[in-house]
């Protein structure tokens, strides 16, 4: 798998997470986003590229400027990725509870 396209790799980077927080409230240009970081502009561009490639960011051309904004659909996917793990443990523990209730009455 191309790591750059893996959303979980994408959000593992603190700068990229900060970018997502920034554009969550409003669409911003690359320049406006970069102004919030001390890192070099090309570095920020690279982060924007990675976030766009894995569809966490959407961009829209307005005149000469490109505005970046959050793709809420993809963010939801990330928020949900832990759910099957939680469900697996919940099923397991529900079964534990049932097994032990039966064990208790059987004694």
């Amino acid at each position: 798998m191309d790591l750059r396209r893996d959303v979980f790799q994408a959000i593992a980077d603190p700068t990229r997470r900060a970018i997502l927080v920034l554009v969550a409230s409003q669409a911003m240009t690359a320049g406006a986003i970069a102004a919030n970081f001390e890192t070099a502009r090309p570095t920020v561009s690279k982060h924007l590229q990675i976030l766009s490639e894995c569809e966490l960011l959407k961009h829209e051309q307005k005149g000469r400027e490109i505005y970046y904004q959050l793709n809420p659909k993809k963010m939801k996917e990330i928020a949900d990725f832990i759910e099957p793990f939680r469900k697996m443990w919940d099923d397991r523990f529900n079964k534990l509870e049932a097994v032990m209730k039966k064990y208790k009455t059987g004694k």
């Binding site: 832990i82 793990f85 939680r86 443990w89 208790k104």
Partner: protein
Amino acid sequence: MELKTKVHAEDGKNELTITREFDLPVELLFTAHAEPELFEQWMSHEYGTTKVLKFEAKKHGGWQFHTVDAEGNVLFGANGTFHDFVPNSKITRTFETDDSAYSVQLEFMEFESLSDDKSKLTIHSIFRSAELRDELLKLPFAFGLSMAHDRLQEIVGKLRKT
């Protein structure tokens, strides 16, 4: 429906916490983890049967179990060493999958009594890296996706499940 089990996994950290409250006295909650035949029952599921192969419930004792499907294929196996085994209180152990793909992790399991018939289990797992933790968290997610796919093809038998 609200799940009773909570999973806390902070971004970028090499640890996770699972908590759950049970309608069971703490003694029974602990017994479920201390008696191999009971552990086998609640760790088995519709895709496979869990069998405890080794269970030395004491400091520095070893443990091993695996889950096999109806045809006898091993779906999942794990092993490790107990570092603490204190009845109705705590189990500290290492946990490693048999295929070693995910490196070893350290687990602190705490058993608490909330009342005569309620108890709480907290599992604090520590991984070698945040990446390895995320890989493990994603396993059931990935499994769920392939399950949906395979149900269409009606071949469920040879999938892996933790």
